[in-house]
Every structure is written in structure tokens, then in C-alpha cells.
Symmetry: C2
Subunit: 428 residues, 2 copies
């Protein structure tokens, strides 16, 4: 174990630069903790001449990440380019075929191709580790794969997109509408090039699908994550929720139910005094529930140079120490295909609608709810003009099917203006 572990790093953006800094600045610490030197032998990025604020001296340069991945002087291919397909996937496959282990922060690639890549790695006797792909610096892949491995996992929850949490928190704090805070986040550089990856819940959905695979021993199934973004959340919903003791979070939930695996990434109301409800700004939180351990809450920075590089390094260190784990916590060839279940678990819902102000309007709406089998826990009429009143219901627990029947039924009443807003209340 005194041979150096040699890294080839593809992608020198924020995270890649952070990894280079740690390897350069903490050589002694890393050697003490792993029993061997950790070195970078080669790097690759789109632009060789960019000033990254860190020296690349002594590292070979490859324009082509595939060539980097296959170099004889690379033991671990560190993939920090991103993108589900293209160079990232080609280079990852090349690295595995050339006998390299792979460390990646690429949630999109693993959410789409994780099963195939994991099978390939395990056939070839290589490992793929991806701590940095989920919730930045929080060591949640390790906690779930190893720390809670003695548990049947009963539920995984997470606020795993810091940009969305920032937007929702800023809306509440400032009272400004979504569009305006979205623009602010854009100007601050918080949004992906395709903002829908953030605000549409796709990025966080990728992460959820990876955790669900580990938790339930099933093949990654991003295609069956129910995705709903935060674009329709109004300042009025945030305020009404707050007045009732809730906050709105883009919350991922994965749970195995009698009807199959439920995976959703959608805005939810959570109690304002719960750990998830108290999570403000760009911080991430993952909640893991196991039959023996109960509830474990993990909180930390979900993005940024230092935190994400810290997660990449934990995988590198794991490999340097000789630990060899399967990608998703058990052999990929044995992972079952999950039976997808759409929002199987019943829950209370928050329902907001504009009700025409005339006698009998409330009775019509209440009848629709009653006919759908939904009973009402709380109701409030927040304010009022001459023609319409905003009305909010909190229902008792109901299945999603019943809720959809009620939402469809409102249209026929002639007294609900526009579409009713329905947001699940998660019992956290």
C-alpha cells in the first residue's frame, strides 16, 4: 500500500479545481490517512489556458478525456465534466475498460446510465463511487450504503437542490414573487445553464433516484420519479402556508410501499419547526429512516467548490485505503427492477382556489371534496374582493387518485376560477 494512488481528473471547473487544491495542499494529511501518497498525474478540460487560480504544473494534459481515462499512469479516473451522455459517459466507459476505478460527481449520468455502468464496473472488477453526486459535501451515500446497511430503509427524504431552497427562502423573506427571485438567482450565478434542471426538480430528482437505488436494492429508475418544479409556487401560497405553521420545500421522497416504489420530487408543505422546515437558504438536508435506527438527519452544503471536492476526495480516499464497494450497495447484476407506484402513500393536502363570491359556492366545492371521499381538516378564507375570495383547505389524509378526482370536479362547479393549487403535506 505504499504505491501512490494516481488520479486523472477530467473537468476543471469549480469542483475539479477544488480537488486539485486539496490534493496539492493536504498531501501529508492524505498520506497519513490512507497510508499512501495521492497524486494527480494528468488532467483534461475544455480550455487549457484558463486561469483557475491553481497550478497544474507537473500534470500531463489531455485534450481528450477518453485518452486521459486510458492512460497507463492513471489508477483512478475522476469524472467532473457532467452531462448524462457524451464525453463523460464515453470516458467513464473507457476508464472501466482500461482497468481504472471511477470517482464521479455526475448525477445525470448515473441517474440515466447507472445500472449499465455499475454492471460493467463490477464485471470488470472496478468500482464507481459517487458521493459528490448527491447533496454535495454531506456524506449521505456513505451513510446510506454503509452506516445504515443493517436497516430496512422505510423512507428517504431530501432537500437536495440549494438553488430551489434559496429561491423559496428568499420569496418568503422578501415577499417578492417567483419571477423576480428567479432573476436574482440567475444574476447571482446560482442557476444551471438550463434552469429547468434546478427549478424543474430534474437535478434533485436525479439525486433522489440514486439514493432510492441504494435504499431499496432496486435499479436506478429516474424515469419514474414524479417531477414537479417550483415554478408555480406563489408568494400567496408561501404566506398562507407560513400562517398555518408550514414552509414549502422542494422535497424528494422515496419509499417502498405495498404497491411499489414511490419516488417524487415536488413542492411539499412541511412543519415550519421540523428540521426540514427550518432549512433556510442554499443548504441541503437528507433524512434517512430505517426500521432499526429511526430517523437520521444529515445537513450541510449541497454545492460549491469546497464541499463538493470534499465529497470527491472521500471517494478517492476510500479507494486509496483499499475499500472496494459495489456502486449501489449490492451487486448491480442482482438489483431488481422497481415496480413504480405513483404517489401511493396517502397524505393530507393543501388546496388553494379562487372561489366566486356568491351564495352556495362553498357548498359546491365542499360537495366535490365529499364526493371524492376527501374530508376537511382546516379551512380558511384569507382575504376578499367584490367578486372572488381565495379559499384554502387542509384535507385529512387522502390518496392522490381521490385528490385528482376532486381537482377535476372543481371545473364543473362553475365557482372555482382558474385552477386550484394542490400541494402535498409531508409528515416529516
Amino acid at each position: 500500500m505504499t504505491q501512490p494512488l494516481r488520479l486523472g481528473i477530467a473537468g476543471l471547473g469549480t469542483v475539479g479545481t477544488g480537488v486539485v487544491k486539496i490534493v496539492r495542499q493536504k498531501a501529508n494529511l492524505l498520506a497519513a490517512r490512507t497510508g499512501r501518497p495521492i497524486e494527480i498525474t494528468a488532467v483534461s478540460a475544455r480550455n487549457r489556458d484558463k486561469d483557475r487560480g491553481v497550478s497544474l504544473k507537473g500534470y500531463a494534459w489531455e485534450d481528450d478525456p477518453v485518452k486521459l481515462a486510458m492512460r497507463d499512469d492513471v489508477d483512478v479516473f475522476v469524472e467532473l465534466m457532467g452531462g448524462a451522455d457524451g464525453p463523460a459517459k464515453a470516458a467513464t466507459e473507457a476508464a472501466l475498460a482500461a482497468g481504472k476505478d471511477v470517482v464521479t460527481a455526475n448525477k445525470a449520468m448515473l441517474a440515466i446510465h447507472g445500472q449499465e455502468l455499475a454492471e460493467s464496473a463490477e464485471e470488470l472488477g472496478r468500482v464507481i463511487r459517487f458521493e459528490a453526486a448527491v447533496a454535495g459535501g454531506i456524506p449521505v451515500v456513505k451513510a446510506l450504503t454503509e452506516g445504515l446497511a443493517g436497516n430496512e430503509i422505510t423512507r428517504v427524504m431530501g432537500v437536495m437542490n440549494g438553488t430551489c431552497n434559496y429561491i423559496l427562502t428568499r420569496m418568503e423573506d422578501s415577499g417578492l414573487p417567483y419571477d423576480q427571485i428567479f432573476d436574482e438567482a440567475h444574476q447571482l450565478g446560482y442557476l444551471e445553464a438550463d434552469p429547468n434542471l434546478d427549478v424543474g426538480g430534474i437535478d434533485a430528482g436525479h439525486k433522489l433516484s440514486l439514493l432510492a437505488s441504494i435504499a431499496y436494492g432496486t435499479q436506478v429508475d429516474f424515469g419514474n420519479v414524479e417531477l414537479e418544479g417550483i415554478q408555480k409556487i406563489s408568494i400567496q401560497d408561501i404566506r398562507t402556508a407560513a400562517a398555518m405553521g408550514f414552509r414549502i420545500k422542494l422535497l424528494g421522497v422515496a419509499q417502498m410501499t405495498g404497491r411499489g416504489l414511490e419516488q417524487r420530487m415536488s413542492p411539499c408543505l412541511v412543519p415550519a419547526d421540523s428540521p426540514l422546515g427550518q432549512l433556510q437558504g442554499g443548504t441541503n438536508m437528507v433524512v434517512l429512516e430505517g426500521d432499526s435506527v429511526g430517523q437520521i438527519v444529515l445537513r450541510g452544503a449541497g454545492a460549491g467548490e469546497g464541499p463538493t471536492a470534499s465529497a470527491v476526495m472521500s471517494d478517492v480516499i476510500e479507494i486509496a485505503r483499499g475499500t472496494r464497494l459495489t456502486t449501489f450497495g449490492q451487486p448491480a447484476a442482482g438489483l431488481e427492477k422497481a415496480r413504480p407506484a405513483r404517489a401511493a402513500a396517502p397524505a393530507p393536502y393543501y388546496l388553494r382556489m379562487m372561489l366566486t363570491d356568491k351564495p352556495g359556492a362553498m357548498a359546491k366545492v365542499a360537495t366535490v371534496l365529499g364526493d371524492a371521499g376527501i374530508s376537511i381538516n382546516r379551512m380558511r378564507q384569507t382575504h376578499h374582493d367584490d367578486t372572488a375570495a381565495p379559499v384554502v383547505f387542509v384535507t385529512h389524509k387522502t390518496g392522490r387518485d381521490a385528490l385528482d378526482r376532486a381537482l377535476a370536479g372543481f371545473a364543473g362547479t362553475g365557482v372555482v376560477q382558474g385552477e386550484a393549487v394542490a400541494i402535498r403535506i409531508e409528515d416529516v
Copy 2:
């Protein structure tokens, strides 16, 4: 790796029984996650005939845990007896000498003898794992040893004794004094046979010393943990702190300073709206701070059958998967002796005293503070009788030495009745 991993379990109290249940009830899950069966071959406890609510059929019985530890049909010795010395240590040593790996929940043994046992294990090529010894079900040993291994750790904090947190929370909620809530906790069975292990901070101090060793690459040094229990915390302090936006927690803090390693386990004021301040009841929380990752917060059940057994099983699973880690995150033979530093980091303090109600009293106390170089941030006089007034100061940051000078100086003023109470305010 298809050979079963065979466990010998010494100690069948709450945790041992929990481990037996998991091994019996989740055989398929454990085999899927480790690639091999996990079996119990032999057990040992003080009382063979006790009904533990779980079958021990098929397990050999040993009255002597040392004999159990040396059995040919045991691969991993699972030590769940407790006690720093005596049978636990003898059996652990016997297990290592006989070529067994060791999984233990014994914080006292490792806090006192960890360095010696780790050196012995590593010389013999065996591993000692102890996830269950710190913060019950929270996978904090793993998070620190592995998840954050790319970081210089800047601070470790933790509320790691659920009984103390229960007592402090109940005092605040009920308004009842310490003695009464202590009796309540005793009746509920929350206290150790020697309650001072809990309320004196010893148990939590053991845990802190283990985390400090991993964090700073130093030999476990429980003897230099500054210990202060919760026995002197009055309901008045809890209420005054609450009125100023704080809660009082038995908080462990370990940090490496320019003057050496500071380890303390003592009551601290923390902001009521911080994650630590919001921790109510018997739950545990550990906060890990690293130079790259920032702040990671871990929260979960710190005790109980399921959570602690979950932690034991994570170590067993780690060994079953072939992962071989050093006890404290780097080779024990290379761990340095820590240079102990008593409360090196300056902090603001909460100071409460009964001041004789006569002209010039406040001036005398303020002069003592000023002479010690301590400046005052906030002051309040809470209520009042004819002869004395309780006065509370919040100081600006000050060193412990200056504070001790001030505390000594109050006696000479003739206006401070009894002893002043000083509680550190930790910046969390």
C-alpha cells in the same frame, strides 16, 4: 467472499438483543448487501436464563466472554458488555490475540485504553470498529473517519448524552428544578447505574475523546477532557438564557488551537434557533466542521436497542464486505500525543450572580470585570427582593484565564452572594 461471517456476541442487554434480532430477522438483506451470510455462532452474558424476547437457539453459550472471544468458530468478537476494564478488556485482548476482528459499543474502554488496543490490533492485522460507541445510531464515526477524510477538521461539537438533554429540555418545559427532573429520569430508567456517568458528562466526554482522536490524528486523551456536568444548572439559568434567545446544552467541543488540543464537555449556551439549540429531548446531534466541507450536522437517536444495534451492524457489515480500516482513521502507531490546551479558544460567557442590593454594588462587580480585561455586551437584572438582586451579564469574547480572575475577584467585593455562575456561550 461466500464464506459466512461468524459473530460471537458478548453481552446480551438491550443492544446485544437488538443485534441478535437484526441478524435473525434480516438474513437475506444482510447477505444481499455484503455478498455473504452473517451468522451468530456463540453468545455470552451474565445470566443464561433471562428471557430476552428473542431465541438464542442454535448459538453456543459461553459463561466466560474470554473463552467466547477465542472460539475457533468466531470471526468477529462483538463486545457489548461495557466497562472500561474487567471482562470487556480481557475479552477484547483475547479476541485480537486469537486473530479476531472486534466490534464494540464500549466508549469507556476505548476512551481509556483505545490507543493501546488500536496498536495491538494493527500489529496483529486485526480491526477494531466502534460506530455504536458514539452517538448511538448516528453514523458519525464513519462520517468523520471516511466521509470528511479530505478535510482538516476545524471543530467537532456534539450533544451526545440523551439523558442530559432530556433533563435540560424537561426543566425548560416544566419549570421544575434539576433535582425533581433528575428523579423523574431515574424512575424512567434513563440513568446509568452510576448517574454521574450521565449528568457528570463522563459518558459524553468518552465519546468526544474518541471523535477528537479521529479528527486530529492524536492519541485518545480522555484524561484531558475538561468535564463539567449539568448538576449546577438551575431553572433560573434556563429561563434567563431562554429570555435572551439561548438554550443550555451539555455540549462537547474539540478543536485544535495554536496552543494545543482543546476538549471540553460542559454546559454551554447556544442560540435557540441553531440546530443544536433546537435539539429537544433524548436526541443526539454531532456537528463536524472541516476546512473544505464547512459545517455538517448529523442528528438521530443516541441510544436505544434499534439505533445502537444499527450502528453495531454497520461495523459488522463493513467487515463482512472486506473493508479494513485503522481504528482511529490512521495507523495507531503514528498517532501523536495531543498537547492539551485548557479552554484555549476565547468565547463570550453568561455570568449570573446574586448581588447585594446597596449603592455601589454594581460598580464593584463591573470594576472586577474591567480589571480582568472583560467587557460587557449585555446586562440584565431579572427580579428583586429587599436584600439582593440576581444580575446576569453576557460578556464579549474573553479567555478562560481572564474569566477565572474575575470569578476569583468577585469574592473580594463583599457584594456577590455565594458563587457566580459562569456558562460559556458557544458560537455554533
